[in-house]
């Protein structure tokens, strides 16, 4: 059985592409056959986050327009068995593809035997969003604990439900537990209470994500990364396993920080 999952958020810059890359890799590591589809036509980025930017020959629009076969456009990730990327076109507009064409593309990917098809949705609520959700079976909404991001997530949840994608789940990204403990950031309960959706996972704000993205190696494959662990947990939940939410502890203080605190008192 295969499933099409769209990763969306409304607001830009909250971590849709990073989440797509990590979930795709994480599922592939657990032996699933995964297609990552970059639906952000004109602003392609999933290729660079995955470190596959030098291997693009054909793209999503080429497939839709019949310039190549689907298999020709799918880039096989040599590091992870069973992981493939379908890149977005960089020199085209969002309206180069229609929702019907995206639906058909998803059906074709299902026929290719993929277990999971993960669609990285563009920011916004216009044509690109409508295209990205057209063939989806379920939706994951990514947000950060900020007023603007949660507001946009609320709007997106409404639009998803209006399009028949009921009960989207939520990934709360870039949580800073030190700020939450001081009351200077909304916590997990605040956000889930306001949005009234089930939480799929919480990803801590973690510099290992920046480093991983710099290198083009998703953090999920790094056993040392806290964010990577959070993504591994989410992957297991996607596959139907029950994994408790990560416990968040503040980073232990360095000697200098302790010293500073001592003098502040």
């Amino acid at each position: 059985m295969s499933e099409v999952i769209v990763i969306t958020s409304g607001k830009g810059g909250v971590g849709k592409t990073t989440t797509s890359a990590n979930l795709g890799c994480g599922l592939a590591v657990l032996g699933k056959k995964v297609a990552l589809v970059d639906a952000d036509i004109g602003l392609r980025n999933l290729d660079v986050v995955m470190g596959l930017e030098n291997r693009i020959v054909y793209d999503l629009v080429d497939v839709v327009e019949g310039n190549c076969r689907l298999k020709q456009a799918l880039i096989k990730d040599k590091r992870f068995d069973g992981l493939f990327l379908l890149p977005a076109a960089q020199t085209r507009d969002k309206d180069a593809v229609s929702p019907e064409q995206m639906q058909k593309l998803c059906d074709n990917l299902k026929e290719e035997g993929f277990d999971y098809i993960i669609i990285d949705c563009p920011a916004g609520i216009e044509q690109g969003f409508k295209n990205a959700i057209a063939g989806a079976d379920r939706a994951i909404v990514v947000t950060t604990p900020e007023v603007s991001a949660v507001r946009d997530a609320d709007r997106i949840i409404g639009l998803l439900e209006a399009n028949g994608l009921n009960n989207p789940t939520l990934i709360l990204n870039r949580l800073r537990i030190d700020l939450v403990n001081r009351g200077e950031m909304m916590n997990i309960e605040d956000v889930t209470e306001i949005l009234a959706v089930d939480i799929l996972g919480v990803v801590p704000d973690d510099e290992s994500i920046v480093i991983a993205t710099n290198k083009g190696e998703p953090a999920v494959s790094n056993p040392e990364s806290r964010a990577g662990q959070a993504y591994r947990n989410i992957v297991q939940r996607i596959m139907g396993e029950e994994v408790p939410l990560m416990t968040f502890e503040e980073e232990p203080e360095t000697f200098m920080e302790k010293l500073k605190k001592l003098f502040r008192r």
Partner: protein, 95 residues
């Protein structure tokens, strides 16, 4: 943090709480999907109807969409809040 800020801080809520409260209010408006134009039209109509029965203070009139706890206490629901000060009753012909 200096010694005196320990006393000062108590009065203002932490910014996380401020964020949550602001967000709640913004979402009430977003979810109702009522533009300020529509609210203005509603206000004009309400004044028109009420003016048939009583003289009201249009300057002090306050109409807004806000939220309140639902009857079954399961969460909050949007409400139309109207504060309309009455100056005097008009004589209404009842037949």
């Amino acid at each position: 943090m200096d010694f005196f800020s320990f006393f000062k801080k108590k009065n203002t809520p932490p910014s996380g709480t401020v964020a949550k409260d602001r967000l709640k209010l913004v979402l009430v408006h977003d979810r109702v999907n009522c533009s300020s134009q529509v609210l203005e039209m509603l206000k004009t109509d309400i004044i028109k109807v009420i003016s048939n029965y009583m003289e009201i203070d249009e300057e002090e009139l306050d109409i807004q969409i806000t939220q309140t706890e639902s009857d079954d206490k399961s969460g909050t629901v949007p409400v139309l809040y109207a504060n309309i000060p009455i100056k005097s009753m008009r004589k209404v012909n009842q037949d």
